[in-house]
Symmetry: C3
Subunit: 440 residues, 3 copies
Amino acid sequence: MLFKKHLLTAAIGLSLSFSVQASELETLINMLHENGMVTDEQYGRLMGELAENKATKEQEKAEINEKLAEATKPSDIEISTNGGLSLKTRDGQFSTKVGGRLQVDAAAYGGSPDMGDGTDIRRARLYISGELYRDWGYKLEYEFDNDSITDAFISYDGFENYQIMAGHFKDPFSLDYMISANNTMFMEQALPTAFNAGRHMGLMGARNSQYWTLAAGLFGDTVGNTGGAEDEGWGWSSRGTLSPVNEPGKVVHIGLGLNYRDLQPSNEVRFSQAPESGVSGVRIVDTSTLTNADTMLKTGLEFATVMGPFTAQAEYIRTSVERDNISDADFDGWYLQSSYFLTGESRPYKNGVFGGIKPDRRVGDGGIGAWEVAMRYSSLDFNDGAIEGGEADSMTLGLNWYPVPMLRFSANYVHVLDVDGGTFDGQEPDVFQVRSQWAF
Amino acid sequence: MLFKKHLLTAAIGLSLSFSVQASELETLINMLHENGMVTDEQYGRLMGELAENKATKEQEKAEINEKLAEATKPSDIEISTNGGLSLKTRDGQFSTKVGGRLQVDAAAYGGSPDMGDGTDIRRARLYISGELYRDWGYKLEYEFDNDSITDAFISYDGFENYQIMAGHFKDPFSLDYMISANNTMFMEQALPTAFNAGRHMGLMGARNSQYWTLAAGLFGDTVGNTGGAEDEGWGWSSRGTLSPVNEPGKVVHIGLGLNYRDLQPSNEVRFSQAPESGVSGVRIVDTSTLTNADTMLKTGLEFATVMGPFTAQAEYIRTSVERDNISDADFDGWYLQSSYFLTGESRPYKNGVFGGIKPDRRVGDGGIGAWEVAMRYSSLDFNDGAIEGGEADSMTLGLNWYPVPMLRFSANYVHVLDVDGGTFDGQEPDVFQVRSQWAF
Amino acid sequence: MLFKKHLLTAAIGLSLSFSVQASELETLINMLHENGMVTDEQYGRLMGELAENKATKEQEKAEINEKLAEATKPSDIEISTNGGLSLKTRDGQFSTKVGGRLQVDAAAYGGSPDMGDGTDIRRARLYISGELYRDWGYKLEYEFDNDSITDAFISYDGFENYQIMAGHFKDPFSLDYMISANNTMFMEQALPTAFNAGRHMGLMGARNSQYWTLAAGLFGDTVGNTGGAEDEGWGWSSRGTLSPVNEPGKVVHIGLGLNYRDLQPSNEVRFSQAPESGVSGVRIVDTSTLTNADTMLKTGLEFATVMGPFTAQAEYIRTSVERDNISDADFDGWYLQSSYFLTGESRPYKNGVFGGIKPDRRVGDGGIGAWEVAMRYSSLDFNDGAIEGGEADSMTLGLNWYPVPMLRFSANYVHVLDVDGGTFDGQEPDVFQVRSQWAF
C-alpha cells in the first residue's frame, strides 16, 4: 500500500510539472488519508479521479493555447496606407505599391522678356511597383500631364546591394536630377538642368552601399520614338559617388558623372533653358539646333553636405558636342544651393541621393510641420565661339513647408541677374511661383 | 491562532473578489478544520497552497484574456470592395480609394441633318483619392477616352464642414454639371450644358451643411494649356444653394451660380451644342468664333425638388460676352426635367447635388433593380443681333435601369422640335441612344 | 435528506455532462459525508457552492470559446498579391484585381531593306477588373505606350458558362490573336496577324465549356474614332472551337472563325506587315490603300495540339475584299509553329486559348525556371491580280525563359526567306530581338 501510494505520488508529481492546479486538494486528500479520515480504497479512487481530471484540464488548456496562437499569429499579408496603398507578404516574397504624385503650380512674372502668368499641373503621376519572388522587381509609372511613360522596368535584386535593371529609367547622371522631383530643394532644378541626361531605354547595373555607389548602363533611345529605317541613337552613362561621412544629420557627398550619346539618326542637338520656372514656356537661353552633331559627352561633378538642419549642394556640368566639319561646341553650368530647417529636421541621404522630408512635429499633432528656407545661385553658359545661345545667372530664394509627410507647399522667388548674349541679351526677368504637392 | 485564521480569511476574501474558484474547497477545509479533522499545522499548509494556486490561476486567466483581447481587436486597416478598392485606417487618419467608371454608348440618328450612327466610349476613367492625417485630402483622376486629367487636387478638410481645394476641378456652377455624370437623369446633360463652366486650375473654398452650401473660387486656365509669353485666362466662380427641405425622399433645392472669365490671351470664345447626344460630333447650333471678346459672365438659376419617387429639376443659364468695339452678345437656355422611379426609390441629395441611385431590391437578390422613367424639355438660344448661331428646342424621353448599385443601363430618345436659324435652320433630328455604365 | 442528496447528485450529474471539473472534490465531499466527517448541513452547503462554482466556470469557458471562435474566423475579404493586387469577398459577391504588363524590346536587323536597330516599349498596360454582386463583371485596361484603351467592358456572367459583354474588346477571330500577347509562343505573332480583326465597340455572347466554345458578336467601330455626319463602320465576328481532347498536357484543338466588316464611311482598307518585329516600323509587304472597298470577309482555320511538353499550332486566314466596280481582292496567309519545354512543362489550355506558363521549378527555389525552344514558318500573300503588295515567307527560331511565374525573357531570330513582289521584292531581312516582360 505504501508502495502503491508512492507510485501514485510519483505519477502525480509528473503531472504537476505541467500544472500546479488542484494540488491543494491533493494535499488535503493526502492529509485526510494520513489522518485516517478516508479509507485506502477511497484514497485510491480519489487519486485516480484527480489524475484524470488533471489530464482533462491540461488538454483544455492546450486547445485554448493552440487557438490563441492561431488567432494572434500575424496575417500573411501586411497592408498599409499613408497615401496610396502598400501590400507586403510576410514571407518577404511579394510586395505591391500603388502611389502617385501631384504638383500644382502658379506663377507670376516680372521684368522682361514677357512671360505669361498662369497656372500649371507640373507633374501628375501614378505608378504601380513591387517585388516578385523576393529577387525580382518591377515598376510602371505614367505621367498624365504630358501623356508619357516615365519609369517602366524590370529588375533583378537577387545579389545583395546590386541591382540589374532593364527598361525605361533615368540615365545615372547629375545629383539634382537623380533626386526625385518630389524632394528637390527648389520647385525647379537649377539652370544646368539643361544638361540633364533624361530617361532612355536601357540596361543598367548598380551597386549601393553606405559609403559609395556606382551605376553604369547602356542606353538606347527615349521611349515613344517609333523606329524607322535608321538606327536609333544610343549612349552610355555612369555615375559614382563617395560618402565618407554618412550618418543621420551628418553627410559629405562627392560624385562624378559621365554621359555619352551618339546623336544619330538626326545628328542634331539643341539646348535651351527657362528661368527655373515651369509655368511659362519661355526659354531665356537657347543654342538653337546644332546640326552636324555626331556625339556629345557630358561630365558632371557633384558635392553635397548635411550638417544637422543645414544642407549645401553644388554641381558643375560640362557638355561637349562633337560636330562634323565644324568646330566642337562646349557649354557648361554650375550651381550652389543651401537650405536650413528652421524646425530642426535634417535632409535624409541614402544610396547617393537625398530623400524626402518628414517633419519632426506634424500639423494636427501639436506641431507646425517642417519649415525650410533655401538660397541658390545658378549659372549657365550657352555661348561658345560662333554659337551665341546666351549666358544666364540667377539667384533664387525658397521657402518649403512640409505640414505632414507626403505634403509640401513651396514658394520660390527667382531673379535672373543677367542674360548675356542670345535673343534675350540684357534682360532680367523675375519669377514668383508657388507649388502645392502631394506625393507617396 | 484565531487571529491568524482571521487574517488568512481576510486575505482569501480579497482573492475571492477576483475569483470564486476553489471556494468550495476552502469551505470544506474550514469545515474539516472546525470539525477537527485536520490539524492547525495542516490547515495552515492547505491555506497557503490554496492562496498560491489561486494566484497562479488568476495569472493564467489574465494571460488568456489579454491574448483574446489582442486576437479580437479590430485590425488597424479596414478594406472593402464594391467595385474598385477602399482602405481606411481605423484611427481615421488615412484612407485610400481606387475607382473608376466606364460609359459605353451606341446611337442611331434619324431626320436631318445627317449624323453618323455608331458607338462610343463616352467616359473611361480611373482615379485614386484619399485622406492623409485626417485633415488633408487628395485626388487624381484621368479620362482615358480623350487623354485628359479631370480631377487633380489637394484639399484641406481640417475645419468642420469647410473645405479648401487647390488644383484642377470643376468651377462651381450649374446643378446638372455639378452632379457626377454617373448620376445625371439622362445620358447627356440638357442643351444649356453648352454654357458649362468646365474645369480649371484654381483655389476654392466651400461650405457644406444640410440646409445650404456655398462655394467660391479663383481659377486660372484649363490644364494642358502650355504657357507662352501671354498671361493665361482667369476667372472666378461661385455657387450658393439653399435646401430648406432636406430629408430622405423630400427635398426642395434652389441655387444661384455666377461665373466670370477673362478671355485673354486669345480674346475669342465659341459656343456650340449637339442634340444631347455624344456619339456623333455634329453640332446643330453654333455661334462660330466670337472675336474681340474680352470677358464673359454666366448667371445660373437652379430649382429642384424630390417628392418620394418623383424628381423635378430645372435651370436657366444666361451668358453675356463683352466685346471690344462690338455690341455684347447675350445667349441663354433653360430646361425642365422630371423623373419617376417605378420601383419606389428616391433620388438622394447631399451638399447641393444629387447622388447615385441604389435600387431597393437588387437583381440577383429577388428584385428587378430600380426602374426610372424621365422626360425633359430643353431650350437653347444662340441668336443675338447679328449673331445667328441658331435656337434649338428638344424633348427627351428616358429610361434608366439600375439592376444593382454601381451599374446603370439607359435608353434615351431625343426629338429636336425645331432649329431656328444657323446652318441647320428648320431641321429636326431624332436620336435613339443607349448606354451601359459601371461606376464606383 | 437522502432524497435531497439524490436530487443534488442528479443536478450535479447534469452539470458533469458539460464538464468533469471538480468531480474529485465532489467525490471527496461525498466520501467525507458518508464517513461522517462533515455534517449534513455542511454537506448541503458544500454541494451548493460546488454547483454554483461549476456554473461560473462553465460560463467562463463558454465566453472564452466564443471569443476564440470570433478571433479565428476567416476575414470577409481575401487579399493576395503575386504581382499587382487581388481582392475577393469570401461570399463570392465581389472581387477586384489591379494588374498590368510591361514588354521591353531591343532589336538588331541585318540584310536589306534597312531597318533601324533600337529599343522599344512594346506594351505597357495597367488594368482594373472585377466582379460586382457575383453576376456582373467589369474591366478597364489602358495601353500607355500608344495612349489607347484596350479592354473596356461590362459583362453579365449570371448564366452558367455563358457570358454577355458590352464595350470594347477583341473581335473573336484567330487563335494567336485571342491568346494574350503575354503568352504567345514568339515575341510577335506570325505574318498572317496582318489579318487580325482587332478590337471594336460591340455586344458579344460567348459560351465556354471544356470541349467547345462559341462566341459571336456585333461590332461598331474602334474606340477613338469620333463620329461625324457619316455612319461608322460595323461588322460581326464569330469563332467556334472544338477540343475533343482536353486534359492537362493533352489537347487537340480545332477552330473556325468568320469576321465581316462593312468598310464605311471611308470605303478604304489597307494591309501591311512587318517581318515579325515591333521595334522598327518598316513594313516589308503592303497592299497600299485599296479604294472602293465596300466590305471584307475574313475566314480563319485553326489547329493546335499539346502533347506533354510539345505544342503545335497552325492557322490559315483568307481575306476577301469586295470592291465597287473593281474586281474583288483576295489575300491569304498561314503559319505553323511548334515549341518544346526542355524543362517538361505543358502549355495550359482553357476556353479555346492557351494560357501562361508557370515553371515547375522556380529560380530562387532550387530550379532554373521553364525553358522553351520554338520554331515557326509563316507565309503571307498580298499579291492578287493587279495588286502587288508582295508575298513574304519567314522562318523564326525562339527561346523563352520563364524564371518565375509572371516573368518572361525571350530571344527570337527571324529570317525572311523571300519577299516576292512589292516595294521590297527579293529582299531578305534578318531580325534578332530580345524581350523582357512582366505581366500579372
